[in-house]
């Protein structure tokens, strides 16, 4: 609990986080099997801030999966209708003032989802050339190839939609077929991360939507969770520097790292089993032989990444960028964060997809 409270991202970005609060209430209710209450809470979160759509797919798939598990005829159908009813009612209550006519609703939707603006108008731009300083896949790619010049805005939209959908598909299917609370929490993380990486109009602060679910699973995978939370705060570095929060950033990152090391002793827990990768490594055993030194490799990668982040933070704060590349440091920060996030996406997907096989085989044995 101390680690979650000390998460630097939340401390440094003071914002109206009520939507995160409601979403967490939703998760809490679902963990007690109070599905209706959870749905209401999530609808409220969604209507507070549309960013919650990042989590909506996980909630949907999990609840749908639960209904399927109970059998589509009988109990399952009853639950499905109850949840659907609750959702519709909550939405109706929130949207009542705007339901006067269709044009109102369209205007609200247009404001909420500014599709006309293009893939990354919303992220911070400086003078041309427009390098995007966001840890998003499109922004990182735009450093190499100018997507804006190749495809039109509509195609951009469709492209991002398709890629996001494809990256979400495995997890969602898995969650619908085998709903479990643990899988649900992991799915929250991976879906939100997919959205963050591949969708349009993303703001840097949206990484908080991914970090908060990660805080929920910090007990299960302390090492990876700590690593992810450090990288997510690091990805917001340009924003923090702009706000003059360098000292607070440095101190809170160090404090968070120390608390995590002290309470979870993360440096000892880097084996494949601790990283929940046991089932995956079992299936790979025939093909890859270097799994013996896996903990050491992981530990050294972590230290390497920490050093890289530290050096880059120091340089962003202390050194002036060269004249020809004024945005060198923010762009490097975002590219490095993006690479980390891609690796994390792969990792979380692996954990989810290989998770049930283990439990099924365990059930078979017992």
């Amino acid at each position: 609990a101390l680690c979650i409270l000390l998460y630097p991202g939340l401390i440094l970005i003071d914002h109206g986080h009520f939507h995160l609060g409601f979403a967490l209430w939703g998760v809490l209710c679902l963990s007690y099997d109070w599905d209706l209450l959870g749905s209401v809470a999530f609808c409220l979160a969604l209507n507070y801030k549309q960013m919650e759509l990042y989590h909506s797919l996980s909630f949907f798939c999990y609840l749908l999966g639960k209904c399927f598990k109970k059998g589509l005829k009988g109990k399952g159908l009853v639950l499905l209708t109850k949840i659907a009813g609750t959702v519709v009612v909550s939405f109706a209550v929130c949207w009542l003032p705007f339901c006067t006519d269709m044009e109102q609703i369209m205007q609200v939707l247009r404001r909420l989802f500014p599709i006309d603006r293009g893939l990354f108008e919303a992220c911070m731009f400086s003078s041309p050339p427009p390098y995007c300083k966001l840890a998003n896949i499109w922004c990182s790619l735009s450093v190499l190839i100018k997507i804006k010049n190749i495809v039109s805005p509509q195609t951009q939209l469709k492209l991002s939609f398709v890629v996001t959908f494809l990256s979400l598909l495995p997890t969602c299917i898995k969650l619908t077929v085998q709903p479990s609370l643990r899988g649900f929490k992991f799915a929250l993380v991976s879906c939100a991360l997919s959205f963050f990486l591949f969708s349009f109009q993303v703001h840097e602060k949206s990484i908080l939507l991914v970090s908060v679910p990660v805080c929920l699973i910090i007990n299960e995978i302390p090492f990876m969770a700590t690593w992810f939370l450090l990288v997510s705060t690091f990805s917001m570095l340009p924003l923090l520097l702009k706000d003059g929060l360098l000292l607070a950033y440095a101190v809170t990152m160090l404090a968070f790292l120390s608390v995590c090391v002290a309470s979870f002793s993360i440096f000892e827990k880097t084996s494949a089993e601790d990283l929940q990768l046991k089932p995956f490594s079992l299936s790979l055993k025939g093909y890859v032989s270097w799994f013996k030194s896996f903990p050491k490799i992981v530990r050294s990668l972590f230290l390497l990444s920490l050093t890289l982040m530290g050096v880059l933070s120091l340089m962003s704060a202390a050194v002036h960028p060269p004249q020809r590349l004024p945005d060198l440091f923010p762009v490097s920060v975002s590219i490095i964060s993006c690479l980390h996030f891609l690796l994390f996406l792969v990792y979380f997907n692996v954990v989810i997809l290989w998770d049930s096989k283990n439990s099924r085989s365990q059930k078979k044995i017992s």
């Binding site: 000292l247 101190v251 160090l254 120390s258 002290a262």
Partner: protein, 526 residues
Amino acid sequence: SAGRAMAAGGRSWFRALALGVSFLKCLLIPAYYSTDFEVHRNWLAITHNLPLSQWYYEATSEWTLDYPPFFAWFEYALSHVAKYFDPKMLVIENLNYTSRATVFFQRFSVIFTDILFIYAVRECCRCVNGKRAAKDVLEKPTFILAVLLLWNFGLLIVDHIHFQYNGFLFGLMLLSVARLCQKRYLEGALLFAVLLHFKHIYVYVAPAYGIYLLRSYCFTANNADGSLKWRSFSFLHVTLLGLIVCLVSALSMGPFIVLGQLPQVISRLFPFKRGLCHAYWAPNFWALYNAMDKALTIFGVKCNFLDPTKIPKASMTGGLVQEFQHTVLPSVTPLATLICTFISILPSVFCLWFKPQGPRGFLQCLVLCALSSFMFGWHVHEKAILLAILPLSLLSVQRAKDAGIYLILTTTGHFSLFPLLFTPPELPIKILLMLLFTVYSFSSLKSLFRRERPLLNWLETIYLIQLVPLEIFCEIIFPLTPWKQHFPFVPLLLTSVYCALGVTYAWVKLYISVLTERISVRQKAE
């Protein structure tokens, strides 16, 4: 699970506490700082640029050098590091110079020198032995003592917000206390002598040190019933002690005696021209005296006993420190305060002499000396309450009675420090930190002594609870009333008088407990 991890970690909990409080101090770097910040910057400049002979004569800034020579040498050493941060802060004429590098350097120097304080706390924790071995680390007396000292609210806000260098000075004092508890008398004496030449306010507790060293070190043995064995006087020990004191004093004051500047130094160190009370009355006896005088004045004017035209206009809580006269009660001179202090110290010193109970008796005498000097001293600053609070922490984790007195003294003492931070952004910080510390001290001491009778009786509890409405009134309600224009000193007056009641009560209670304990010991011996 965090507790279990901490218990498994052995002594790593101390490291965690020290690291945690250091991170907190780093976060406080951008906070409000008082004029003491400029004072120390000025001293950096003076010691860096001028030769030794000019140090105590320099008066370009109003904040002249008024600490003993060792502190001046300390500032000199710091100034050589400072020039790598921002050389402009070392220019004497740059009054009120506050670049970001200056703020960062000075704040960081305080945080860095606190290492000595952390070391001293570790040594003190070694001297404390709990009666029962607690299984959980969080319940051990050493853990509670470490938190009460390292995370002490008063020290945090005085050192790291208001800006002073008390951390390492208290470190020296606690280290000397620890050495005396470990029977390493000469080291303890050396440390205290050095401390005196860093900040002369510690002369308040010098009688305790002197009498204890004389009694327990110079007279090496006691009779069967515990009384003094005059034959066991050891000339060797006396000579060694005398040598240490003389050596340290020579090192510190020697250059100035050679230059013939001793009177100037003394006049800088003890500026008696300042008034009886600071602009904000420290919560001591004189605060109550002043309040009584004011009340009687108003009463007298209303009942026509006094002539309104004869009352001087001087406001006692005005911004500048000025001398003033009391109207109804007799005026107080520096000599009177000295006599009062001396008389109030005597009983505790006699106790220490006639029936020394080892280090615990020494600590009791030390706290009483510090408190008595706080009660009756001339121009006492409210920060001096820390001189009594920190040593009392050592006693509070060992006996329930001391714990009760400690809770009263600490809560009122810390509350009386609130007017030091009057800016709006610091209001939530000081309230939250105070709540954190107060809640922890109450809960931990209560759970440590839960097998004995309750620490505070109902009267004391009510008194402490009343601090909350007082704070709400002073900070929130009063500024919204129309009286703010005419009587701006009312919140300060109320705070200092109310806290003075608490401090006086704690002082009397501690005295009574020490005296009755000695008497009962003597009766047992007989």
